[in-house]
Amino acid sequence: MILFGATLLLAFLSGLPGLFMKRGGGRSAALLMGSSAASGLLAALQVLLGRATGAVALPNQRVLDWGFLHLDPLGAIFLIPVCILFGSASVYGLAYWDDHRENSRTVRAAFGVLAGFLILLTGAQHAFTFLLGWEGMALAAFVLVMAEDRDPATRRAGYVYLAATHTGTLFLFSAFALLPKAAGGLAFGPWTPGFASSPLGSALFLLFLAGFAFKAGALPLHFWLPPAHSAAPSHVSAVMSGVLIKMGILGLARLVAWVPDPPIWWGGSVTALGLASGVLGVAFALGQHDLKRLLAYHSIENIGIILLGLGLGLIGKHAGSLPIQLLGFGGALLHVVNHALFKGLLFLAAGSAAKAAGTRDLEALGGLARRMPRTSLAFLAGAWAICGLPPLNGFVSEWMIYLAAFQGLGRPHALWSVAALGALALIGALALACFAKAFGAAFLGEARSPAAVEARESPPSMVGPMGVLAGACAFIGFFPVLLGRPLDRAATQLAGAQGPPLAAMASLTMLSLMALPLLAGAWMLVRWSRGRSFREGVPTWDCGYTAPAARMQYTASSFAEGLMRGMRWVLWPVTAGGRVAGFVPRPRPFSSHLPDLVLDRAAEPGLGGAARGLGALRFLQAGHLPIYLLYVLLTLLGLFVWMVA
């Protein structure tokens, strides 16, 4: 537990020395964050592999009747990505958000505070510590999202984020206020059996689900996520997408662990949320032109996959089937770690490319693979992993969720399993198409803008962290069997009972063995290509033209056009112009845009209408002092009359 305390303290303080230093603040922050990450990883491994679980009890007071911090296996699973991502992102930030930026101190301090609150959340075992961490995390992230607040789009994203996160927190406050009725106190603990099926239990579940889904970015409540992720600096987007939104999953997982007998509709609603987020998240990602916005929609998709795992596990818990539970929960938890790793990697690579080329617009990038080979390799690795292709880590967790769904076939409630299987397959295919588009448009072909021609490889301090994350992705992908025991412990905590080991159920050893031929094949490919000579400086593919131009390439939009057309009925893309007539048509402008289903089509018009409707009440706000005093007088009189009557 000393290790956990050290992790917490070092992370909180990491930005502090930089506030007083003229230069080198970034290094001190990275050093402190790195040591925090190392001790956090040790703490997590100690909890997951060893016997030691420590607890720090706060003094017993009336207000905090049992507040404590306690790192259990479930929290440790979430602590691992927090440590890895913050450690590598703070090193990445050295060059990406260097000391010359006017707000580099604020960003570093807020980054450390964000890390501290996230670490606190992983160990929180009481409503007080949990809400403290939750609110602190939201505010620190707001400061970070607003780092480039001179840009109006950033300010808008920041305020949308702030409003959304506080609405979510409101749900959580009401939920935690009801928690003592279920668990006998504000400390986290198992619920009374049977409570979950009562009306109050249902209300509590819905409140928790709303609060956590807001943070996780599950579909109808995801609208804050794409603008905030694309507005924030890339290393901040990496940790936001990688671990911040996972805290919603942590909350849901805690909820699952408390409840011994969830009704079937709990699992059903979580699975339904997962289906919607997964499929629509990737569908919206396909239509994006902004590289970071595209990645943000993929976060929604992956949250959907995680929710599918949790939902299947919950259905298994209702039916009392241990294999479904362990595979579902284990897959979901592993996907939490995996998504943090590869999405962090993708955001860092995207940030590196965007910084070098000066734009995040896919239609203005292109040909970066030649100029930034390491960054493009890192992006490729991340894309490979996120599409769930073997032998990287995304495959392992999706495989476990697939297995959970297969386990559910032929049992009661098999319909959910069928739906989950279909959705997983669809998500995988669409994700592959989307990353073919993103990687192809940004890194292959020819540069589409002069700035992209000038792009140069990022410094080692930015490439190194990407290498670490890619290595972690590969490690999990090649040696999943090593994760069997830790995942067993965490999934057992969620299931509430010991079951058959995951390593055997998901044949993790086989996965390692089957990865080896792939590795050998890749190595041979590299050897073979090394031996061949390449001509550099010629166009990638000139299509038989004598003078090919960059404009002749497939654009990102045209690549995705076919798929977008098929999903037009749900996505509602907005296109303008582009119709040509005659044999020798004049140049015509064409633009396409994919507004967010909730933010741009429902939330903004709805809230705008509400603001106009409530404007009718503005006459109350006359601005005359006597009128306000009259309100006070009338209230006073009303109170008197009420007291007398």
């Binding site: 006359a622 601005g623 006597p626 005093l629 006070v632 008197f640």
Partner: protein
């Protein structure tokens, strides 16, 4: 019996306050009301409590001299002598004040108070002074007369506090008095600035500050 007389006088000064249109006079009357209230605890035979004595002296000093002094100075600075054209006419104000006093008497009779406190004129006088203060605040245009309304409002609260004068700690009462003094001190300065900024002390113009 003496304190009943003082309270009755206080209630009468309320009527004078709402009916007068000269600023100078309303300051005088408010100061007079403050002095009356300052003598009130002495007339109740509370000589033996040192803190009550101290408080009475402080009240008389602050409300009878210091605050009128500040208000007169502000009045000289902004050169306002009359409250012209209030939101509610003087006749109507007088009638409303009478109505408020009547309501206070009825209310005081029916309020769920402790049996020991229910008797006497304290509660109705406190309530009617409170209402008068509010009436002045709501109906007057000039910032200066509004400050007088604030002063009267506080007098009503002070009168209510008289019920508890033996139990209330000195700290609380001096706190209230200090609060009042600082409030009026600040307002005296602010009024001058309002005139400088808006070229008038008509509070209607301050609606421009609304977003």
């Amino acid at each position: 019996m003496l304190h009943d007389l003082l309270i009755a006088l206080t209630m009468l000064t309320n009527f004078t306050l709402v009916a007068t249109h000269r600023v100078q006079k309303s300051i005088q009357v408010a100061a007079f009301q403050g002095v009356l209230l300052g003598f009130l605890p002495l007339s109740m035979g509370l000589w033996r409590h040192t803190h009550v004595l101290l408080l009475a002296a402080a009240t008389i000093l602050v409300k009878g001299w210091l605050i009128p002094f500040l208000l007169r100075r502000a009045m000289r600075q902004v050169q306002i002598h009359r409250e012209v054209n209030p939101y509610i006419s003087y006749t109507l104000s007088l009638m409303l004040c009478a109505l408020g006093t009547g309501i206070s008497l009825v209310l005081a009779h029916n309020l769920p108070l402790k049996p020991g406190d229910a008797h006497g004129l304290f509660v109705p006088a406190a309530l009617s002074t409170l209402f008068t203060g509010f009436l002045l605040l709501v109906s007057r245009r000039k910032a200066l007369t509004q400050v007088v309304g604030y002063l009267v409002l506080e007098n009503g609260i002070y009168l209510f506090g008289m019920l508890l004068v033996e139990q209330m700690p000195l700290l609380v009462e001096t706190g209230i008095l200090l609060d009042l003094f600082v409030g009026i001190f600040v307002m005296g300065i602010v009024i001058n600035h309002i005139r400088a900024a808006f070229d008038s002390t008509d509070t209607l113009r301050m609606a421009e500050l609304k977003d």
